[in-house]
């Protein structure tokens, strides 16, 4: 039971990374992309191939996977200059499917027995979940802080401006092209990092794990938590993973029909959306020019001081 809860936390951590990436694209910059399965796929494959065929360590493959996904994000980002809204959504969805189809055609079996992540001689195995949780959530925390900084920097404000009104942003001298591509590259790179950790945990990569439902799940996490809100998307990832693994956690999965799990999941989505269409925590209110220093803000986050709470929608 405890073991399974730990597993959910690990999966939630991996998906939280993806949700942070998706949030950068959809939440901050307002582009509806359904391609995170593709980024996830590239990251997973990069780690699997580098570690297994080229003898890289997990840590060496991590930045390469991030860069590979980032390049893909760049390639996807370029066409987005011309596409808007639902057209962008369907184009990115198409790209995700292309990546999966090509991966399936290259090798439908995928890669197995990928070497584990090591740190100072310590091996992160699937049996020692607590260490893996620490590892993955440390990364979630790092990326959360980085993206929180980003959201409140010049870059983040430019992205928010593009989301709110592209024409106005452009006329205010914001280079829309640059920031849109930047958002895609960053979001994709984090998706690739998530893929690395998935490979490190399951030690197996298979193209059938990267269907467009994964992209949909990630988007769900972002919308469910609250778009453009760093904390909210992590909460969204936790909740979505918790809902989808809840029957297995409490041992209901072998009692109720298998489809019931999925039906409950669908019901939860509908009910949560009707109840909180803006997401559970809603959008982060922009504090243009937050007067506090980074240190104060960090302290504020951990102490949860009222000043910060007041700022939330």
């Amino acid at each position: 039971m405890v073991n399974f809860l730990q597993l959910i936390i690990i999966y939630a951590g991996i998906y939280a990374l993806m949700a942070i990436g998706q949030n950068c694209i959809t939440g901050y910059t307002g582009m509806l992309s359904l391609c995170h399965a593709g980024f996830f796929c590239i990251g997973s494959y990069a780690t699997a191939i580098l570690c297994k065929d080229f003898g890289f360590s997990f840590w060496a493959s991590l930045p390469i996977a991030a860069i590979a996904s980032g390049i893909l994000g760049f390639l996807i980002g370029v066409p987005t200059l011309r596409l808007k809204g639902d057209y962008l959504c369907i184009a990115t969805l198409g790209l995700g499917e292309i990546i999966r189809t090509v991966a399936t055609n290259l090798n439908p079996v995928g890669y197995q027995s990928v070497p584990r992540a090591m740190l100072f001689g310590y091996q992160f195995s699937a049996r020692n979940k607590v260490q893996f949780i620490l590892l993955i959530w440390a990364f979630v925390l790092i990326f959360y802080i980085l993206f929180q900084q980003l959201a409140h920097s010049r870059l983040g404000r430019a992205m928010a401006a593009i989301r709110e009104d592209e024409v106005a942003a452009q006329s205010n001298g914001i280079n829309v092209t640059k920031y849109k591509i930047g958002a895609f590259v960053l979001g994709a790179a984090i998706g690739g990092v998530a893929g690395c950790f998935m490979t490190a945990y399951t030690q197996t990569v298979n193209p059938s794990s990267f269907t467009f439902m994964v992209s949909v799940m990630v988007l769900c996490m972002v919308v469910l938590g609250g778009m453009g809100n760093g904390k909210a998307v992590i909460l969204g990832a936790l909740i979505v993973q918790f809902i989808s693994y809840f029957p297995q956690l409490v041992g209901l999965s072998s009692v109720i029909p298998a489809q019931a799990t999925q039906i409950i999941y669908g019901l939860c989505l509908v009910v949560l959306m009707i109840w909180r269409p803006q997401g559970l925590l809603g959008r982060d209110k922009y504090r243009y020019g937050d007067p506090r220093s980074t240190k104060e803000r960090l302290v504020g986050f951990f102490k949860r001081n009222p000043e910060k709470k007041g700022g939330r929608a």
Partner: protein
């Protein structure tokens, strides 16, 4: 010469395949045109339509092998299925989408994904996970002309999709309800002020879109088989077809469907690559089309945001 006939056959195959996509895309595009909202559950309504049609047809037919009665039973089954799906569509709209009409655009999208989960898994629960065959209500011996073969059910699919396209176009352009729909699509609050019952119009849109999905589902099940998951990929492809043609545009959906079908059929052998990459080709062409014409082939150029 043989190669020419071979490619002509691929082309013909592509058109018949595309007709199915077109038929489903019509429903997609209809709902999108009015509400500017991707109804992800459309593919699953299609699946419900196929199951309803199949069950009604087998129930009506019983042990009868009378040719005329088979045809009548088939069209009755289609009507029952259309009615059922129309009601289901209106119900889903009332429950899952109406409360979200004024929310941000992603909320109804997610709600639709939830509905899609419920429908497809509910069907798998009730009907099981195996695929079923929809028996042909007529003799389906292929017709061979000059080395090219086509079957009666494929001709039926093409004819029905063209009829549906014409009926739908004239409905939207000529009737009072059609005008109300176009007004709602342009400006909801103003239409309301002009005395249009927007709720009723949206309900009707969903009813018509879902009834179209039922027809599409039944005709698709000849080629795709009836199964709980039949709607997912078919729905996605139909959506792609609608986008290629310019989503919201009825002729565009037809055009997009046919283009997609031909691409899938001819693309791989023409490029000399494995056929398992056909989806990749179809999606790649989709992206290229969108890059050249960001609003689809027949789409109007309008600016929009998430």
């Amino acid at each position: 010469m043989t190669t020419l006939i071979q490619y002509l056959q691929y082309f013909l195959n592509g058109i018949t395949l595309g007709a199915i996509y077109a038929l489903i895309a019509l429903g997609y595009t209809m709902v999108y045109g009015i509400l500017k909202f991707i109804n992800f559950a459309h593919g699953d309504i299609l699946m419900v339509g196929a199951y309803t049609g199949l069950l009604t047809y087998t129930a009506l037919l019983g042990d009868s092998t009378n040719g005329a009665w088979m045809l009548i039973a088939f069209f009755l089954a289609m009507l029952v299925s259309m009615a059922f799906c129309a009601i289901l569509g209106m119900f889903i709209e009332k429950v899952a989408y109406k409360p979200l009409r004024n929310a941000n655009r992603l909320a109804p999208l997610l709600s639709a994904i939830g509905v899609s989960f419920i429908l497809s898994n509910g069907a798998a629960w009730i009907f099981g996970t195996q695929s079923r065959r929809f028996p042909y209500p007529f003799d389906d011996t292929p017709i061979v002309i000059a080395g090219l073969s086509i079957t009666p059910h494929q001709i039926l699919t093409i004819v029905v999709s063209i009829i549906m396209m014409i009926v739908l176009t004239s409905f939207v352009n000529k009737t009072r309800m059609g005008k109300a729909m176009r007004a709602t699509s342009l400006d909801q609050p103003t239409s309301e002020l002009m005395g249009i019952d927007v709720n009723h119009v949206i309900s009707m849109t969903f009813a018509i879109g879902s009834a179209l999905a039922a027809v599409g589902g039944i005709l698709a099940s000849f080629d795709f088989r009836v199964s709980a998951s039949m709607g997912t990929m078919t729905g996605l492809k139909a959506f792609v077809a609608a986008v290629i043609g310019g989503i919201g545009n009825i002729q565009g959906a037809m055009l997009g469907g046919i283009i997609l079908g031909i691409l899938e059929s001819v693309g791989a052998p023409l490029l000399g690559i494995p056929s398992s990459l056909r989806d990749a080709i179809a999606f790649a062409v989709l992206i290229i089309i969108l890059l050249v014409k960001p609003d689809g082939i027949l789409g109007k150029n309008e600016r929009e945001k998430v």
